[in-house]
């Protein structure tokens, strides 16, 4: 089971993602460089958070054109597992691997804090290690995290069970107060139609150790390990 983490110029959560992979896997994560043309045979790809190209036009807009991204698109289209976290989620939308877009937070400010998200789907390669409905405590840290899509797309996402995470309050309610950035329907993470690509704004890789305040993000990486492990056939 080899997981690759891509480094773009301006990625700053790539090391954190690699650290997270090490915590769940015996195999070292594969370092993927944006200028490369090869995914080096990995079983899953993580597009990490950060500010690729400074996010100067829109988050992820420029990174999407990196040479390696063409490989990632091809990989995704052939069913490979791709996880985009924060800036990675933005890239996936910009690259049209996921529908919709991420707009400036409705507060117009960068926001970093622990939020709660509810696991809405457990039949994905990114959440199969969780029980459905579980409420996770994870950090967010972004200024463009407001998920938008037209009503039709949103309805389709809901109907197809592709909304994977939703911002909720302590009682598990997807209230307006629990929505940190104005995301439509409190959406914090979605998958593509086929279910092999997921984007999420919260940072599970920062919630892997109790010393850092939460271990609730472990499940995302454990799921990926379980799903992508060549030995597991089910």
């Amino acid at each position: 089971m080899r997981i690759g983490v891509v480094t773009f110029p301006g990625s700053n959560c790539d090391d954190d993602a690699r650290r997270a992979v090490r915590l769940v896997s015996d195999e070292d994560p594969v370092y993927l460089w944006h200028k490369s043309h090869s995914l080096e045979g990995v079983d899953a790809v993580i597009l990490p958070g950060g500010f690729s190209y400074g996010d100067y036009l829109r988050g992820g807009a420029i990174a999407r054109f990196s040479p390696l991204m063409s490989e990632v698109v091809e990989f995704a289209e052939s069913g490979g597992y791709v996880l985009g976290i924060c800036n990675g989620f933005q890239m996936l939308c910009e690259a049209h691997l996921l529908p919709g877009a991420l707009m400036k937070n409705d507060t117009l400010r960068f926001v970093c804090k622990h939020v709660r998200i509810r696991v809405e789907q457990t039949d994905t390669p990114f959440t199969c290690a969780y029980e459905e409905g579980r409420i996770l405590r994870t950090p967010i840290a972004h200024s463009e995290g407001g998920y938008v899509a037209d009503a039709e797309t949103l309805d389709r996402l809901e109907a197809d069970g592709r909304v994977v995470f939703r911002y909720v309050d302590a009682g598990g309610v997807a209230s307006e107060a629990a929505n940190p950035n104005g995301s439509a329907r409190n959406i914090a993470g979605i998958t593509n139609e086929r279910g092999n690509v997921m984007g999420m704004m919260p940072h599970p890789e920062r919630a892997m150790e109790s010393i850092l305040g939460s271990t609730d993000g472990m499940g995302v990486f454990e799921s990926l390990m379980r799903a992508a492990s060549p030995v597991v056939t089910r």
């Binding site: 939308c93 400036k104 938008v148």
Partner: protein
């Protein structure tokens, strides 16, 4: 080849919430400017583009917008070629 000065105006799509516009509207009102409405905030991109003709410059600019400069899910754009000598003021100015 000529150098064209191009201006792209990228605006939030009709119907989308524009929190920035709303914030500016509120701030203007609280500064005492009344009768201000429908404030929308977008991006303005200016550049020089080499092309053989005006239509070619336009079509290149359009391609840049489609590929990179604007995100059609949330943004519309319009392009104009600036008059070199009357650059800032542009065509339809008051």
């Amino acid at each position: 080849m000529t150098d064209y000065r191009i201006e792209v105006r990228v605006t939030p799509r009709e119907g989308l919430l524009d929190p920035q516009g709303r914030a500016v509207e509120t701030a203007l009102t609280s500064l005492g400017f009344d009768g201000v409405e429908s404030v929308r905030i977008g991006k303005l991109v200016r550049m020089r583009v080499e092309a053989a003709s005006e239509p070619e410059a336009m079509s290149r600019a359009r391609e840049m917008c489609d590929r990179l400069i604007a995100n059609p899910v949330i943004e519309d754009y319009s392009i104009r070629i600036l008059d070199e000598n009357n650059g800032d003021a542009g065509g339809g100015d008051a």
